[in-house]
């Protein structure tokens, strides 16, 4: 109740402070997450976890060549205090010329082409308490220069401040057996979070090919989780890594052929990881307006699970179906199955969404974990099947 009142006040104050020349928009939502099975670990919540969230957005163009963006984010969770958090998703100043641009401030960048894992996407830290799909990111402070040439786009990033990954608290589900201590973090670099990370990216297209090449040198976004002295908690340890990555897509008629690959050093042995896959769309299914997409991807990860942050996706197969009604409400659904080819542990995920009227959006998500006890990483989730219902107001 208190949370709702707070959101209400926040919303009102935002509306009142709205500068007239700015483009103001955003999203306000409520979310209910239901865990049908009893928790595996002591202290974890059972049944219903509710929360509210807000993501207002201001975009201003003070002059023809400059842009300002400000997007704060807030979630208030009724059950897990570590899921209650605020962030600045974007707060930047952007200067645009015909063939170059300069951005200073907090921003989000997305790189990559595949669906089952965002392997080469490295600029932003994952806001892991938000969702299990790793598609919510914390804002990253950066200085970013981009050059657009006839032969491609070059982007250079300097990132002076590292963001720690968020983790669910002791009350939260979808966490390891031991709670990750959000107050203690260790770094390989003596500069700790103030290590300046650098990244370069080249992207272009030639005919039916889209290509991206990227290099990153800095603090790994994924931590290794090591237990503390008395083995009561986990401590996040962030290594320094260097990685070279490539993403490719070949688009031909209704077929999309996709590849992402990287070579990384700094976390034990140098290793390779890749996702290769394809997507076929059956447009206007049975003469309707609907489309059905078929996805298949193979995930490989050569990392040593002890030396590097553990990863689910060492040798996995992803199968997916995407159904889009192409109706006025933009109704769509995606079902995906990820299966470990070695230990047979799997996870089935459903996402569905539909607009209601012109400002509301209803989303349904569900995830099931199957045969999880066969895999040391996913074992922690074996009781954590969940269903999420989310209603958001877009203005």
């Amino acid at each position: 109740m208190r949370a709702k009142a707070f959101i209400g006040c926040l919303y009102l104050s935002l509306l009142l402070s709205l500068p007239t020349q700015a483009d103001f928009s955003g999203e306000l939502g409520v979310e209910a997450r239901w865990f049908p099975k009893d928790a595996q670990y002591a202290g974890q919540l059972n049944a219903l976890q509710t929360s509210v969230f807000a993501e207002p957005e201001w975009n201003i163009s003070p002059t023809e060549n400059t842009r300002l963006s400000f997007i704060p984010f807030l979630r208030l969770d009724a059950r897990d205090k570590d899921r209650t958090h605020a962030d600045i998703r974007e707060a930047y100043w952007l200067y645009i010329e015909d063939d170059w641009e300069l951005l200073a401030g907090v921003n989000r960048e997305f790189w990559g082409v595949v669906e089952s894992r965002h392997l080469v996407n490295v600029i932003n830290q994952i806001d892991a308490v938000e969702n299990l799909d790793g598609e919510d990111y914390l804002g990253q402070l950066m200085l970013n220069i981009t050059l657009q040439k006839a032969y491609g786009r070059f982007s250079f990033y300097l990132m002076p401040l590292f963001r720690e990954r968020t983790f669910n608290g002791a009350e939260g589900r979808l966490r390891p057996a031991l709670v990750v201590d959000n107050n203690t973090t260790r770094y390989q670099s003596r500069a700790e979070r103030w290590h300046t990370d650098v990244a370069l990216r080249y992207s272009h297209y030639v005919g039916d090919w889209d290509i991206g090449l990227s290099y990153f040198d800095g603090t790994s976004r994924a931590p290794r989780l090591v237990s503390n002295a008395d083995h009561s908690r986990l401590i996040a340890y962030y290594d320094q890594i260097k990685q070279l990555a490539v993403d490719l897509q070949y688009t031909h008629q209704a077929w999309l052929w996709k590849f992402e690959g990287l070579a990384r050093e700094g976390q034990g042995h140098r290793f390779l990881a890749s996702v290769i896959g394809l997507e076929y769309s059956w447009f206007q299914l049975f003469d309707s307006h609907a489309d059905l997409g078929f996805l298949i991807e193979h995930l490989y990860d050569g990392r040593d699970q002890k030396e590097a942050p553990s990863s689910f996706q060492d040798n996995d197969l992803f199968l997916g179906l995407r159904y889009s009604l192409n109706d006025i409400q933009d109704s769509a659904a995606l079902v995906g199955l990820l299966r470990d080819l070695e230990d047979q542990s799997s996870s089935l995920r459903l996402e569905a969404e539909r607009r209601i009227g012109s400002h509301l959006k209803l989303e349904l998500e569900a995830q099931l974990f199957m045969n999880s006890n066969a895999n040391p990483t996913s074992m922690a989730f074996q009781q954590d099947d969940f269903i999420v219902l989310r209603l958001s107001h877009h203005y």
Partner: protein, 265 residues
């Protein structure tokens, strides 16, 4: 005797000539008319406009979308124009942007930007006949306005509203079209399209598009302010209401690259 023979022979020759060349002549005439209409638009260089899209179902229930369209003229006859469409409403898809490089007979190049994940996706353009954002316009209705994407055949001349129109039948030459043919009404005064009928794959009348309220910009370029699409088979309608037209705004190739999609709002 001789004169009668000559007369008959001439008649016969004329009849032969008419029957053997008529199809070619009709196509030649059709192409000329379509080309004249196409040429009337040459040199616009670039344009921007706001579109209010009103979707109406058979029961009359309305839903609205607002988008901005930026177009860059590509002079080369062998490739089409570049366009960028950016949505500002409904609010949950605000910032969604579609970049298209139209081709003549090859598949268009298209990229879609999804603001929720800040992700740019190259998408298949073979979905030509699929509905554009749930409307009665298909993707190809937006991108297939290039002269050489069709054969053109003159059918007849007839009055159309306050004009006299040439009626042209055109057949798509590109792959994956949802139409067997289209019938276009092009006026003889300023050479603009006034009406377009779409026939589906079974050659049944599917849709009629009417072009209303033409205005002349920059003393040269005619643009319809209202495009009204009616689907005869579902009784659904989509209106495109154009406003805020600007020409020669200084846009260039660098404004039509996938890298700018994320800030194109």
């Amino acid at each position: 005797m001789i004169s009668q023979l000559t007369g008959n022979t001439l008649l016969l020759l004329a009849a032969l000539a008419l029957s053997s060349t008529s199809a070619e002549e009709l196509e030649g005439k059709g192409y000329q008319i379509a080309e004249r209409s196409d040429r009337s638009d040459h040199g616009f260089s670039d344009s921007t406009a706001t579109i209010n899209m009103v979707l109406r179902n058979a029961a009359g229930a309305e839903s609205k979308r607002e988008l901005e369209i930026r177009t860059l003229e590509v002079i080369d006859q062998n490739s089409g124009d570049k366009s960028l469409i950016i949505f500002s409403s409904p609010r949950d898809i605000k910032g969604t942007a579609l970049l298209s490089f139209a081709k003549i007979l090859d598949a268009d190049d298209q990229w879609l930007y999804l603001p929720a994940l800040k992700r740019v996706k190259r998408i298949s353009s073979s979905n030509k006949s699929g509905p554009f954002v749930g409307s009665e316009f298909a993707f190809e209705d937006f991108t297939a306005n290039e002269l050489n994407k069709y054969t053109h055949k003159w059918l007849r001349t007839e009055p159309c509203a306050e004009f006299v129109c040439d009626v042209i039948e055109r057949h798509p030459l590109y792959e994956n079209s949802g139409y067997t043919r289209q019938i276009a009404w092009i006026d003889q005064s300023v050479y603009q399209m006034r009406k377009l009928e779409f026939y589906d794959r079974k050659n049944a009348l599917l849709k009629t598009l009417e072009f209303k309220d033409y205005q002349k910009f920059q003393d040269s370029y005619w643009r319809a302010q209202r495009l009204l699409m009616h689907n005869h088979q579902t009784q659904k309608n989509t209106d495109l209401l154009y406003s805020d037209y600007h020409f020669k705004t200084g846009l260039d190739d660098n404004d039509f690259v996938k890298g700018v999609l994320k800030r194109a709002r």
